[in-house]
Amino acid sequence: MIVDDNETTVEVLKKIVQKMGHNVSTALTLNKGLYLSTIKEFDVVMLDVRLPDGNGIASLTEFQNVPSSPEVIIMTGYGDADGAELAIRSGAWDYIEKPASLPMMTLPIIRALQYRETKKQKSNLKSLKREGIVGRSPQLDACLDFVAKASVSDANVLLKGESGTGKELIAKAIHENSVRSLKNFVIADCSSLPVTMLESVLFGDVRDAYSIDDKVRTGLFQQADRGTILLKDVEEMSLALQKTFLRVLEERHVRPVGSRQDIKSDFRLVVSTKRDLEEMTNTGLFRGDLYEKLQSLTLEIPPLRERREDILEIALFHSTKICKRFAMGVKGFAPDFVDVLMAYNWPGNMRELIHALEIAHNVALDSPTLFGQHLPLYVRVNVKRSMIKNVDPTDMSPAEQAQTFPSYKEMRTETIDKAERQYVINLLSFSGNSIKKACEISGMSRPRLYELMKKHHIDRHNVTDEMP
């Protein structure tokens, strides 16, 4: 809305703003402007200072207090520095000196509208149901923004991220904010279920195909009818099952194992993975057509080390919950406790942080405050080591040197880790980088081998370079 008593100014401005693609209302008096702002919604009000029935700056708050709470740009006379300062101090978004060039006129409007858009998004995020999702980092805001968008859609969602980053919480938030929230949120954990059971659990089965009472046991997809199903660790699915799953996705029908009848299910699908599905597709471990279908909406959830500013808030949130569960009074955090929390890298992400907090609370049962020493030893050792890595031992006092000398347990863990890493490298090299062959030779399961590769940061494609 443009509020100015100069009809020429109003007409020129109106054309400029309309050219920018916006609807414009105009008012030649303050009272008309105020009236219009109560019956219509405005994003921006361009308000002159000297109006026949009053002062624009004096009425600034009235404009800002209407339900649409628009951003107000004050238009002052040329060289009126005091008026400009007063406008800003009074909470105006910006001021324009009249007469102004076209860019000087349009730029504040563009910025005000951009700011308003961001503000709207933020307020949308504020109203999101986000149980257990804690933090204010820009990275987390981006995830919540994704939740907001995904929850108004019905497209398949793919959540990527390391273990413990909170993929399940994000999936739950998408469900809770969607129209399906009153129906079931079903979790199918592909890594916890034995391969031989997965198909029956997902799609159901005929309990006893040979008895008269061939009762069908409902599968998770059927239980997710009109609700949401989260397929965790989808990479664990066998290629044969992936084929069946693809058919279910295309037809939205499931056929219980041993049955000849299809059952319709209107489910919303969210899939999570901690692996690189694209790489798995390239190596033939995951179907390309299925991968295509899954990634309609994709979110990469950042690891905790990439949103460190959230660590303390997450720790406080879970500390309160743990204290409640342990039936103990709320505990304070000593500065050295916070220092260790902030310095550690949390490779296991939130899950590891919560585990460490549980241990700390358990150790500090009678202490009203949590100190660094209450945290698990491996966390403290890791932080200490990273702190002294660059210090020359000869510069240390004997006591400090003694502190850096590893304990028997540390030495043992380190030695085993080194041997374990070398074993996996040798194994992959010997098996020609074939995971299948490596599992056969070592007797390890596929998940266990991947777990070790991840633990020791071994990329099987670089194994030859890593050989001693």
Binding site: G132, E168, K172, N184, F185, V186, I187, D189, S191, S192, L193, P194, T196, M197, V201, R217, T218, L220, Q223, K321, R325, F326, A327, R351, I354, H355, E358, I359, H361, N362, S445, P447, R448
Partner: protein, 122 residues
């Protein structure tokens, strides 16, 4: 890894489930409760390295367990439901279980899933 097993006192097949679990879990890592009040006390400790197996005897029992949901949030849970009625299943999913199943004569599926969960943690 610790396993907390809740089997409702009046569960007909409870003993069979306990025997099935005992075959895979060393006794010192298994804690068994038969009353919800005792279970809620048993949950007052570190749980991040725990698998919870819940075996309520009836729908009412399932509903009572829901009151503990806040305590067990994030804990890997297996739930063995007393029936497969739509409402019971819906309540069962509120626990966000890793595995939801119904009582079977031998609880083989529970053993298999629990076995795999333990294997993954080793």
């Amino acid at each position: 890894m610790k396993v907390i097993l809740y089997i409702a006192k009046d569960h007909r097949e409870g003993q069979k489930l306990q025997s099935a679990v005992e075959k895979i879990i060393p006794k010192h890592l298994l804690v068994v409760f038969n009353m919800i009040t005792a279970l809620s006390q048993g949950l007052r400790g570190p749980l991040s390295d725990t698998v919870l197996v819940l075996c309520p005897s009836c729908k009412e029992d399932v509903r009572e367990l829901v009151a503990l949901r806040e305590l067990i949030q994030g804990v890997r849970t297996i739930i063995v439901l007393p029936d497969d009625e739509r409402e019971t299943v819906a309540i069962g999913h509120r626990f966000q279980p890793r595995f939801l199943t119904m009582s079977t004569p031998d609880f083989k599926d529970v053993s298999k899933v629990l076995g795999k969960m333990l294997h993954l943690r080793d």
